[in-house]
Amino acid sequence: MSVLLNKDSKIIVQGFTGSEGTFHAQQMIEYGSDIVGGVTPGKGGQRHLGLPVFNSVSDAVKKTSADVSVIFVPPPFAADAIMEAADAGIKLIITITEGIPVSDMVKVKDYLKDKDCRLIGPNCPGIITPDEAKVGIMPGFIHKKGGVGIISRSGTLTYEAVDQVSRLGLGQSTCIGIGGDPIVGTTTLDAVKLMMSDDETEAIIIIGEIGGNMETDAAYWIKENRTKPVIGFIAGQTAPKGRRMGHAGAIIGGKADTAEAKMAIMKECGIHVVESPADIGKTVAEALK
């Protein structure tokens, strides 16, 4: 068992024929992901990268039985693309798009609350289950099949953690990039629950950031429900208050969302907290001994 994504996942790409969609669809196909087609409104009936293009997600689902969608649609249209995927019955919607207006995401979150689907992102690198499927923009070659589950709000910092883990001979069960925006479809806690109940995952790494309280929510749950080691890192120990550090969600608002406060609570809850980002791999290896 892996989390959310495996070799049987049938994947469509929304924003398929655009430059981002094309480039990353190619990369995903090369990795071995089962991409079954894509959606670009107005280009239905054409073929792109040897695969069918559909006018709507609902057409694509009917013809291909896709159950996963990855969205590269530009910010003004991305919220609509997410809701279209949910309406068409897609079970796992992974939104890579960065810069979706917050008010659009407020509507999306409300729209999805009664739907039987899971949103990952937006503004995230995607999900990978090594050697089975990659749905996102992460470099595939740094990953290695194994037992470490990784949950992260950031892109390149996740690759850093993956790389440290792989270099120590450990591998990953599934890596989930949950995204760096103030509203995300799947929270740290949601992802932790999935990983905690997954047999293949032996340890969990949480890569958090300043801003919000997703990591502390997860920490309090972990305290009561932990069955495997959890390692945590919070980026932004040196970030100033009130300045947005790149991600729309990474801004220190009050006392509780600083790196220091989050790390203290995570420690209290039995999480192995890493002070230096260079020690993430090492700490996992020790925790698994």
């Binding site: 990369q27 910010p75 003004p76 810069g99 979706i100 207006p101 917050v102 008010s103 995401m105 407020v106 509507k107 979150k109 409300d110 923009i137 992460m138 470099p139 070659f141 740094i142 992260s152 709000r153 950031s154 892109g155 390149t156 910092l157 996740t158 690759y159 850093e160 790389d163 440290q164 760096g180 103030p182 509203i183 890569i207 950031e209 300043i210 919000g212 309280n213 929510d217 890192f233 980026a235 932004g236 120990q237 040196t238 970030a239 100033p240 300045r243 550090m245 790149g246 991600h247 729309a248 969600g249 990474a250 009050g254 790196a259 002070e275 230096s276 980002p277 260079a278 020690d279």
Partner: protein
């Protein structure tokens, strides 16, 4: 993007939210003219002159003053215009005042006592909904109110499907202790405020204070208004209100190269791809005994041009004693980045501080060879730990 008080108030007015009226002035003469117009309209000889800068606590720094005559308005405007206003939010160098808002005096005596409230609308991240946060303790620092008297902070969560409902506006008025005409006026004030919030793609509207006047009207006396940057593409009128004088000139220039730069007070500059990795790199600098001089995310395109622009921007700060470049090459190939770094170093000529380049990911080994063979005095590293040790070495 933040707006000035006068801009925020003009937006509120367009949504029929009552405000303390005012007229903008950029010179003392304009301020006098503004006061004369206000006197004609409202008949009062009292005015408040307010410095227009993007920072709170203006009153504490002498940026908000009461004038008791039109003549005094001119004198006060003369003092405030051009001053470096220092408030608890500006830092020690302060901000130069280029505009003042000459406003009507709304604290006039009348049939009842005036009262000040706090009302804001913002996102509640946990629920993914907008929330109206309000308190009867207006006119003071709301964080202090939240700490000392948390029971005096109230919240109404807004269901996005139906918006702010009338019963919620009534609840707000009840909790603020309003009755009679003021209670009724709040039923107009709140829906207008929420419409203004949605209509402008705001991420925060904070009104502190909201005033109940002595004749039982509800007015926005101050206004902190902040717009979601991601929505500016569909808010052209608001995007045009941007005041670049309020922004750091270096940060604006960095933006032209698609670099996300934030100046900090440390001694080690850094250049990184990705916001999360950039923050982690700053943390690593601190743990290595240095202090980060900046946050700089070069994004997906780390090439010779962006690296050179990054170098030039970092090097403007004389307190920088070393530069750490940390690129994780996923889609970007490290050998290309390495060539970019070498070209940038050669183009700048004399880089007077040590540079540590850490490249990891696609073609990292080839990249290290390029850096090592460049003939430049650049330290290369592959692991994050090596990079940390190098920073330690050059600082000692």
């Amino acid at each position: 993007m933040n707006l000035h008080e006068y801009q925020g108030k003009s937006i509120l007015k367009s949504y029929n939210v009552h405000i303390q009226e005012g007229i903008l002035a950029e010179t003392p003469d304009q301020a006098i003219l503004a006061a004369e117009q206000l006197k004609e309209k409202y008949g009062s000889d009292f005015f408040v002159i307010k410095a227009q800068i993007h920072a709170g606590g203006r009153g504490k720094g002498g940026g908000v003053k009461l004038a008791r005559s039109v003549k005094e308005v001119g004198e006060i405007a003369d003092k405030i215009l051009g001053m470096q206003l220092v408030t608890p939010q500006t830092g020690s160098e302060g901000k130069r005042v280029r505009k003042v808002l000459v406003t009507q005096d709304v604290y006039y005596p009348g049939e009842s006592e005036t009262r000040e409230f706090y009302i804001s609308i913002l996102l509640d991240r946990n629920s993914g909904r907008y929330v109206v946060m309000y308190s009867p303790e207006g006119g003071m620092d709301i964080e202090a109110v939240a700490e000392k008297t948390p029971h005096l902070i109230f919240k109404e969560f807004i269901d996005p499907a139906v918006g702010l409902l009338p019963f919620q506006s009534r609840q707000i008025a009840f909790n603020l202790g309003l009755s009679g005409a003021a209670f009724k006026d709040m039923q107009k004030f709140m829906p207008g405020l929420y419409k203004a919030f949605l209509g402008t793609d705001a991420q925060l509207i904070e009104i502190n204070p909201v005033l109940k006047t002595s004749d039982n009207k509800i007015l926005a006396v101050d206004c902190k208004f902040s717009i979601d940057d991601s929505a500016l593409f569909r808010q052209p009128d608001i995007a045009s209100m941007r005041d670049i004088f309020e922004e750091d000139s270096t940060e604006i220039e960095a933006g032209k190269f698609n670099l996300n730069f934030i100046k900090l007070d440390g001694n080690v500059g850094c250049m990184v791809n990705g916001a999360g990795l950039a923050m982690a790199t700053m943390d690593l600098i601190k743990l290595s005994g240095g202090d980060p001089a900046n946050f700089l995310d070069v994004g997906g395109a780390a090439n010779a041009e962006t690296v050179e622009a990054g170098f030039r921007i970092i090097m403007r700060d004389p307190s920088v004693k070393a530069i750490l470049i940390n690129i994780f090459g996923g889609i970007v190939r490290c050998d290309r980045v390495a060539n970019g770094v070498v070209e940038a170093c050669k183009s700048i000529g004399d880089l007077s501080v040590p540079v540590i380049v850490r490249l990891q990911g696609t073609n990292a080994e080839e990249a290290k060879v390029i850096i090592d063979n460049s003939g430049l005095e650049v330290f290369s590293a592959i692991s994050f730990e090596d990079a940390a040790n190098r920073v330690k070495e050059v600082l000692n």
